[in-house]
Symmetry: C2
Subunit: 481 residues, 2 copies
């Protein structure tokens, strides 16, 4: 196979990453995609009689995948908590795939083991930690899962052998915390009721007084609090929970303090933004996804624990065919420090991107995103066609498009809620038809659907913000028509 | 950045994938690696004052990563349950990284969602299933974890809300089953004691009579059996548990039957080997890693469940900012069918490789590997310098090198056990110094360390097998000297 021919369209995609004259989404349904692939001789379906595709057909298939996929590299893709992948990280992923090994042992991944340790050590230092333990996991959901498991085992070490005994353990996190905490307590056998959701302020930041009350209530009910899950950078509002106050409460009650900084911990790279993370130095564990704000490709998720040895104590089994103590450098094997067996070399792309950009480059990326969000929020605040749905924070801006009949917007009523809620999907559909920008909508705290712009991609410029707001206005009018 | 320059060394690596005149392992310790990277101007460590690397330094770093990493593409790399990555899969990983999206929603991953469904549907059909449910996960350990969670919830649906109540649930798997089952029962809050290890025959295949007895014993003790974890292709011996007999026992006692075919399920592609999987049509769930026998890159792990809707029932939370029911094609969103939130597009590389090779190509790859293993086992059986440590099966050959003073080998004694056990790490060290072949050693069933050859790479030839045995003999003599 001529590899150059196969990678040509991929390199072209990366070279044209910041092109604005290309559709972000194809918007086609399953049948349309299926027909298109069939037409080019590479049907999506797989069957026993299929002849292998030749180079030309494979290349066409790759081109079709690119044309028909969502262009998350586009400067006006604001739809997710990641955007604008760094091409260096993409190359790192390619390199890791070509070397195709597993992080489980130093023997199989010597250089990657050292890179992982280097990346984790510097992340821990940025968090103000000295000693630490850590491992890369396949996404922040696993960081949250691992944190809960470590906290459970600190409270009840016998659970490793005995299992959960039905004791009424309770964990606390805000109503804006990531839904993986809910999935985690179910998976861990603690049950959904083990997660208590605590109220937030209007910025989606957990209220310490509400947490104190929730802990007291749990204790009064005979439950056993063991975990506080703070969020640094909530998914929707970009809120940062007040870590010092939460650390005080965690200390007072002997609770594990986990900071889910999957989205927001990268603020630590920016001297102008790192104040948002103040207090993280007191956390027991920290989730930090480099694939969100920093443009490293999916997935690149670091899980850090402050106490050395914690991971091995929770996960080790000492499988004799992998972790032979009579092997050179066996003490560097990471496999017993995590749930996984084979593990991708995610640290490689993080290391390569970090080396290419430097910490000043990461800081500039974040400062640029925050500046765009500030500009956007200011624009919206001064424009009667829009209304902020929450005070903006971090790189998130949530807002409604206000139909002309409701301007100037006099505040929410059940009637305006119903109107705004129903409009959002129709406006988004109009947006997707045009393909010039992509952003998400969702309800907040039971309110009506609002739009959410997430600023992450360094290729995004002030003009993109302005153009996207004008586009939304046009799509709003179209949705009303 | 000049991307062509950065990807050049990666393409060269792939073009020279089957080169035999290159070291497999660099064998260096952490200090030597660190010094080498520092010398080329790209220190492994990361610090706040580091200047960004220029293109030349980044390229040197990529070249050093390749030179100093383990060459799993080498035709004499026999060390793991994967080898010989298919360059098409590597390109698929590159493409997926460049498009950098998440599988969570159809909106963000339309083509990949359809590819995932196509791959899962054909895998299910190969297993003899009609209706099915499934999702790609980051490795077979997660398939085993998910299977146990689904089985627990089938027995005790209230556990989702209430948590594990301390009931003495027990799961059964063989002593040769993957260690992730042990990790899973701990993580799930069932406790390590919830996993009962059942004896195997000399091929590492679970003995149904031993399972029947173990179930009876558990019942007599007042425990509640709920799960049988069969293995199709054990890690060390390549044993396939007798699925029909296990399915009978599972049915009789109402237990969930999970088949961990992470390694061996690919036998289903080969008309000559598929008999090993007979009975899988009766399984409740199946783990199938395409990154092992099929050369798709790490990770590419399918988890299949026979009953539709099972995954959503176990995992769904309905996060309002992702899974809006008022969004087009929301019924295709896969995010609520798994524990993960963002998820890599692993199905893409599977689909692309499948299209390039066809099912006949996959079958040929497997048949070639089995033929090499058969040749190797026959060679060893007729050579007094070696002794099989277990009857060979599938693509695994486990054996000892017999020192001249013990030939002809008259069988194991405590003295020969001690001698063979101590020799293995020394022979492996000699092998690694030469860098011409790489294979693993481990004890089996408490016996002495033995070597394990795993045949997976289609570039491996008969001559490689013969040369590797000669090399082992030379290293054995060196280790004795």
């Amino acid at each position: 196979m001529d590899l150059d021919e196969l990678v040509r369209p991929i390199l072209e995609l990366l070279r044209g990453a910041d092109a604005r004259d290309v559709r972000i989404s194809d918007l086609a349904g399953p049948d349309a995609h299926a027909e298109a692939f069939t037409a080019l001789g590479a049907s999506l379906s797989l069957g026993p009689g299929d002849a292998p595709l030749d180079l030309a057909a494979l290349t066409r298939a790759i081109e079709a995948v690119i044309a028909r996929s969502v262009r998350t590299l586009h400067p006006r893709f604001f739809n997710q908590n990641f955007a604008g992948a760094d091409p260096i990280a993409v190359v790192g992923d390619f390199l890791g795939a070509a070397l195709n090994t597993t992080m489980a042992t130093y023997e199989a991944a010597p250089v990657f083991t050292l890179m992982e340790r280097a990346v984790l050590a510097r992340l821990a230092a940025l968090a103000g930690w000295g000693a630490h333990d850590g491992v890369f996991v396949p996404g922040g959901s696993f960081s949250n899962l691992y944190a809960l498991q470590l906290a459970r085992l600190r409270l009840d070490p016998d659970a490793r052998e005995r299992g959960h005994d039905g004791a009424p353990l309770v964990a606390f996190a805000s109503t804006h915390a990531h839904y993986s905490l809910e999935k985690s307590v179910v998976l861990l056998g603690l049950g959904r009721r083990a997660l208590v959701e605590v109220d937030c302020d209007e910025r989606g930041q957990l209220r310490p007084d509400a947490l104190a009350a929730a802990i007291d209530l749990a204790l009064a009910r005979g439950q056993r609090p063991f975990f506080v899950g703070a969020t640094a950078g909530t998914t929707v509002l970009g809120g940062f929970d007040p870590l010092p106050a939460l650390a005080d409460l965690a200390k007072r009650h002997g609770l594990w303090l986990h900071v889910d900084g999957s989205f927001g911990a990268s603020a630590l790279f920016s001297p102008a933004q790192s104040h948002l993370m103040a207090g993280v130095e007191r956390a027991d564990s920290l989730a930090w996804n480099l694939h969100k704000m920093l443009g490293v490709t999916q997935q690149c998720a670091a899980f850090l624990v402050q106490k050395p040895g914690s991971l091995r104590a929770a996960f080790a089994t000492g499988a004799s065919y992998l972790f032979q103590p009579d092997k050179p450098y066996a003490e560097l094997d990471s496999g017993d420090a995590t749930f996984q067996c084979a593990r991708r070399v995610d640290a490689l792309k993080a290391w390569l991107t970090w080396k290419a950009r430097g910490e000043a480059g990461f800081a500039a990326r974040i400062d640029h995103a925050v500046a765009l969000a500030d500009h956007c929020a200011a624009r919206i605040a001064g424009d009667p066609r829009f209304c902020l749905a929450a005070p903006p924070s971090w790189v998130n801006v949530c807002f409604w498009w206000i139909p002309p009949t409701l301007r100037p917007f006099a505040g929410r009523t059940p009637e305006t809620d119903a109107a705004l809620h129903a409009l959002a999907p129709r406006i988004k559909a109009a947006l997707l038809r045009r393909g010039e920008a992509m952003l998400a909508f969702q309800p907040i705290d039971g309110g009506p659907n609002c739009f959410r712009l997430l600023f992450i991609n360094p290729a995004t410029q002030i003009e993109d913000v302005d153009a996207t707001l004008e586009l939304l206005d046009a799509c709003g009018r179209e949705a009303l028509a």
